[in-house]
């Protein structure tokens, strides 16, 4: 008896609740798509918004509801895309693994200053005042606005110049959008030689303002065996498709503004 009553009471409750809950969940059923949360789990969870949706949740919803391809997420890399594609049973597609690169070498030693900036440490703030304190109006301001938006700690600013650590960069593109000088570009990781300058001034002016800027002397254009280099408004541009990474341009450049940026990890 001393066992029966308690068992009856509690399991009776259990039965009632079991029935009630099951019944209620049937009556009040609201459909949710489990796939969304599954996909959400697979995404990296950085919520960086690089995909163009409101964070990872947004992309997960879009992948399921709008059929957006998982390669929209530039952060997770192939592994994530594969996993999601496997889960959904769709084609993996191709994703370009990009990495950000700062197209400027004008640190405090190389570039000439035009004024003494007193104000908030922020590139936009300085840029609003006559385009920043560097005499070269195209170059890195060096106050680290890009660094503030990089969620992966991939940017360091040293000696007035932003530098990206390619091993950490996921290619999310946040910094690209943030830089007031638009000198950060996403390039395929495997592209090697890059003109690390963004200056479109005439050679004379460029030389006056910066020790390592492109002066449009065209030596690289002439020396390139694969015709991968063209001049765009006083600035040499290398087409990564054509570039064979031979490195002759870098040697020819008198300003040393072409460098081999290929990273060991990706070799």
């Amino acid at each position: 008896m001393s066992i029966l009553i308690p068992v009856a009471v509690v399991s009776g409750l259990g039965l009632v609740f079991g029935l009630g809950l099951s019944y209620a969940s049937k009556v009040f059923e609201v459909k949710v798509d489990e796939r969304i949360s599954a996909v959400r789990e697979m995404l990296p969870g950085a919520n960086c918004g690089a995909c163009g949706y409101s964070g990872c949740d947004g992309l997960a919803e879009a992948i399921i509801n709008e059929g957006v391809h998982p390669s929209r997420c530039p952060v997770g890399g192939i592994a994530v895309v594969n996993a999601i594609a496997d889960y959904l049973g769709i084609d993996e597609g191709s994703i370009d693994v990009n990495v950000a690169r700062v197209l400027c070498q004008g640190n405090c030693d190389n570039v000439v200053f035009k004024y003494n900036y007193l104000g908030i440490e922020d590139c936009h703030a300085a840029n609003a005042l006559a385009g920043g304190m560097d005499a070269c109006s195209y170059g890195c301001v060096g106050l680290g606005s890009c660094k503030k938006v990089c969620q992966f700690d991939a940017i360091i600013v040293e000696n007035g110049l932003a530098r990206i650590i390619p091993e950490k960069c996921t290619g999310c593109g946040n910094c690209v959008a943030e830089c007031p000088k638009s000198i950060i570009k996403l390039v395929p990781v495997l592209s090697g030689f890059t003109v690390k300058c963004n200056n479109h001034d005439k050679g004379v002016i460029a030389r006056k303002n910066c020790k390592v800027g492109c002066i449009a002397c065209q030596r690289c254009v002439k020396v390139c065996p694969s015709e991968a280099i063209t001049m765009d408004n006083n600035l040499a541009v290398i087409d990564p498709e054509k570039c064979t990474n031979c490195g002759q341009c870098a040697e020819a450049c008198p300003q040393k503004c072409i460098t081999n940026t290929i990273v060991k990890r990706f070799k």
Binding site: V9, G14, F28
Partner: protein, 193 residues
């Protein structure tokens, strides 16, 4: 009436669940980042506390006491609470989507919130009547709300504060809770009634 008032003030200020009784700390720490979420959670807690006090009181009075089954309090109460919460959640989701949107996400979290079961255990300990138990639940919920809202304001301020690396996140939150708790000691000697 005076009794009820004493219970009300007592549970809100003197024996504040969070700050002096240590009940419901998890949601207090987890959901106090933003005042808006804190409001949502508080609403849900008050709601569930009042309902669960009523239901558990009835269960205790009519199921357990008659058969001398006090030792089954824990299991019965928690079962009743879990079922209640889940039921409310399901119903709200269907019938009152706006309210569900506001409170719903917090509901499942409340099952494992000490405050709900704790206040049930406390009314048993103190032999409260039905009304007293419900008022106590309501007051405990208000006390929780008060602490949570004040704390969420503080945490929003901490968000942009220049906190030492090691203390960022939970540690500073706990230290802040400690300071808030010190200030509530002021109420400890409140003579009610």
């Amino acid at each position: 009436m005076k009794e009820l008032f004493a219970i009300l003030i007592g549970a809100i200020l003197v024996e504040n669940f969070v700050l002096s009784k240590f009940l419901g700390i998890c949601p207090f720490l987890g959901v106090s980042k933003k005042t808006s979420t804190a409001l949502g959670m508080s609403g849900a807690v008050v709601f569930v506390l009042v309902m669960s006090q009523a239901v558990t009181w009835l269960a205790n009075e009519y199921l357990l006491e008659p058969y001398n089954l006090e030792y089954l309090q824990t299991i019965t109460f928690i079962l009743v609470i879990a079922a209640l919460v889940q039921f409310v959640e399901t119903v709200l989701k269907k019938l009152m989507p706006p309210l569900y949107k506001a409170l719903g996400v917090y509901l499942p979290l409340i099952t494992t919130n000490c405050a709900v079961l704790g206040s049930a255990l406390i009314f048993v300990e103190r032999n409260y009547t039905f009304i007293e138990a419900v008022v106590f639940g309501f007051a405990a919920g208000l006390g929780f709300t008060l602490a949570l809202i004040l704390f969420s304001g503080i945490r929003e301020r901490l968000e942009t504060a220049d906190i030492p690396e090691a203390f960022k996140g939970m540690p500073i939150t706990l230290v802040a809770a400690s300071l808030v708790s010190i200030t509530f000691i002021g109420f400890a000697g409140l003579i009610i009634g």
